[in-house]
């Protein structure tokens, strides 16, 4: 047991890999372990063999789907907002040199039974069926107000105080209809529920600005996506970590987080061996998540998410045959508390064979029949060739302590 590390990182999800990369770069001696034999943890992208092994053990992938190596199916969808924080982290840490990104072709929103493109240009906005003519004028005034807002110049404030007035007040000032509010709050500010309406408008203002500046950045949609799937993101940070001396061990069962009499962390046990470190970081699954607890409770349940990973043989109907898209179904439109999201990618992003489209429909679980909750999303996809439904619990640490 002569080898001792500064930090042991458990799990190779995106967050864990970003931390591992940054810590190694800082000069910390990092040991990074994962029980799986692939990178990415819950946010991995799997090839066909891995996908079948995970969801249908014992079954071989059918040959009609094409070559194993052409697949990188995300387990968790995430489109990267072009001007957002993750983009900044990617650029700042220079991992962009290992990655290539493409745009997501379109962003759509569901309204009154139909889906429409979130306009990406003024021309599209003028023609958009999302609003009637008068509503368009009101919306234009609203967006002009947001765009010209300068904190230091009260003449741009039109009597609004972003830190005091609620979003409701702002919507009312511009006389925006409920459907328009759904569109702005959910398809642009990307709120998953309506709690934001009664809160100060500043946060919503910032999210709309982020959305519009991301949209302006590359044109078609505000989102970008890495070639070969989201699993490339953790891998790129793992490489950053390894280049700065981080040691990687996949396929390593983690049997115990070892602590001393006072509950202070000592090390991590795998089989008969314990490797020591001063600190440990990991995803919840390494700290007892989902297991019957004996002893210390380290993570608490924060609700569930349901996702259906769907294989399609056609683009999603009514999306102008987009090779990739996001569709947001605002909760009000389908009588829910939380939005339903659809994220679709295809061979343009090197995640599947030509002619195949991978769509993930997801939402936060509100009932005891989660699969039924995503039905409105599944209905938009057309014929579904194959489907895997996953229900995952989100966990939070049971206590927050200052770390590092």
């Amino acid at each position: 047991m002569d080898e001792e590390y500064d930090v042991i990182v458990l799990g190779t999800g995106l967050t864990e890999c970003v931390l591992s990369g940054l810590l190694s770069k800082e000069g910390k001696k990092v040991l990074h372990m994962d029980r799986n034999d692939y990178y990415g943890g819950d946010s991995a992208s799997l090839n066909l063999t891995q996908l079948y092994r995970k969801f249908r053990p014992g079954q071989e992938p059918p040959s009609e789907l094409g070559r194993d190596r052409d697949y990188a199916v995300d387990l968790i969808p995430k489109f990267i907002i072009a001007s957002g924080e993750l983009t900044q982290i990617l650029v700042h840490t220079d991992v962009t040199r290992y990655l290539e990104f493409k745009q997501i072709a379109g962003s759509f929103v569901y309204r009154e039974g139909k889906i429409s493109k979130v306009p990406s240009t003024e021309m599209e906005a003028v023609r958009s069926p999302l609003m009637g003519l008068f509503e368009k004028r009101r919306a234009k005034k609203f967006f002009e107000f947001l765009q010209s807002w300068k904190d230091e110049d009260p003449t741009t404030h039109q009597g609004i105080n972003l830190d005091r007035d609620t979003m409701k007040t702002v919507y009312e000032k511009f006389g925006l209809e409920a459907g328009t509010q759904d569109f702005i709050g959910h398809a642009m500010a990307l709120y998953l529920d309506d709690d934001y309406i009664t809160k100060p408008a500043r946060a919503t203002y910032e999210r709309i600005v982020l959305y519009t500046s991301s949209m302006a950045r590359y044109g078609k949609s505000p989102y970008i996506y890495p070639l070969y799937g989201l699993g490339e993101l953790p891998q790129s940070f793992a490489r950053l970590s390894a280049i700065y001396g981080g040691t990687y061990m996949l396929d390593k069962p983690i049997d115990e987080i070892v602590t001393d009499g006072e509950g202070k962390f000592i090390g991590v046990r795998s089989g008969a061996e314990t490797v020591k470190a001063r600190q440990v970081i990991g995803d919840p699954s390494y700290f007892g998540a989902g297991k019957a607890t004996e002893g210390k409770v380290r993570v608490v349940d924060e609700g569930k998410v349901v996702r259906a990973i769907c294989v399609l043989k056609h683009p999603i109907p009514e999306t102008e045959d987009a090779d990739s898209c996001q569709i947001i179904i605002p909760q009000n439109q389908v009588g829910r508390r939380n939005d339903i999201y659809i994220a679709m990618v295809s061979s343009t992003h090197n995640v599947c064979s030509k002619g195949i489209y991978i769509a993930i429909v997801s939402t936060i679980v509100e009932t005891d029949k989660p699969e039924l909750e995503i039905a409105p999303g599944l209905k938009l996809l057309g014929p579904i060739h194959d489907k895997r439904v996953v229900i995952l619990t989100n966990y939070m640490p049971s206590l927050t302590r200052p770390s590092l």
Binding site: V91, T96, L227, Y248
Partner: protein, 224 residues
Amino acid sequence: MSKQFQFKLVLLGLAIFLYCLSILNVYPGESAVGKSSLVLRFVKDQFDDYRESTIGAAFLTQTVTLEDQTTVKFEIWDTAGQERYKSLAPMYYRNANCAVVVYDITQSASLEKARNWIRELQRQADPSIVIALCGNKSDLSARRQVSQEEAKKYADEEGLMWGETSAKTGEGVSDIFTAIAKKLPLTAPPTARASAARGTTGARSGVDLNKQPADQNQNEPCNC
């Protein structure tokens, strides 16, 4: 007219302690096969007996000029020791145009491990990838455990290029990289994505994250 081509090359190989180790005993890399040394010799024509494992080097580039004045630029992805515990990220062989799988001629176990990497590449990498099997440390032939015949025979069976090198003396190093350069399909512009990402090859199909955000005033955002 001279043409320039750019390729991504990955080095795989074995740190021979791969087998016998538990998670605890991370030995320094002295029994490693010499991938980083090989790169250092090829790129900088240097050798260092006491060098640490690859730290801080993302990837290096080196250019080979062929007789017809075609230049081939290699972008070399060293494995940064991730393969030590069989934990190499698939990202390495995505879009790799060629791979050099290195073994140590003084360690027969290292050839065994090289075979595993070659199988993995044949399964997961692009089918057009050029694979070279490279027996390093040829200066230590007194301690040789892997005969040239054995390695050559295996390489022929698998359709691989093969050569022996010494990163220490430099023997065979430029030969193997030149041979790879000749074997690469110098027809279509290659798609080494890392080079594309850093903008060294002009045209790229994706988006450039390093690009400054569009000027807000000229480029009006969505005005719905």
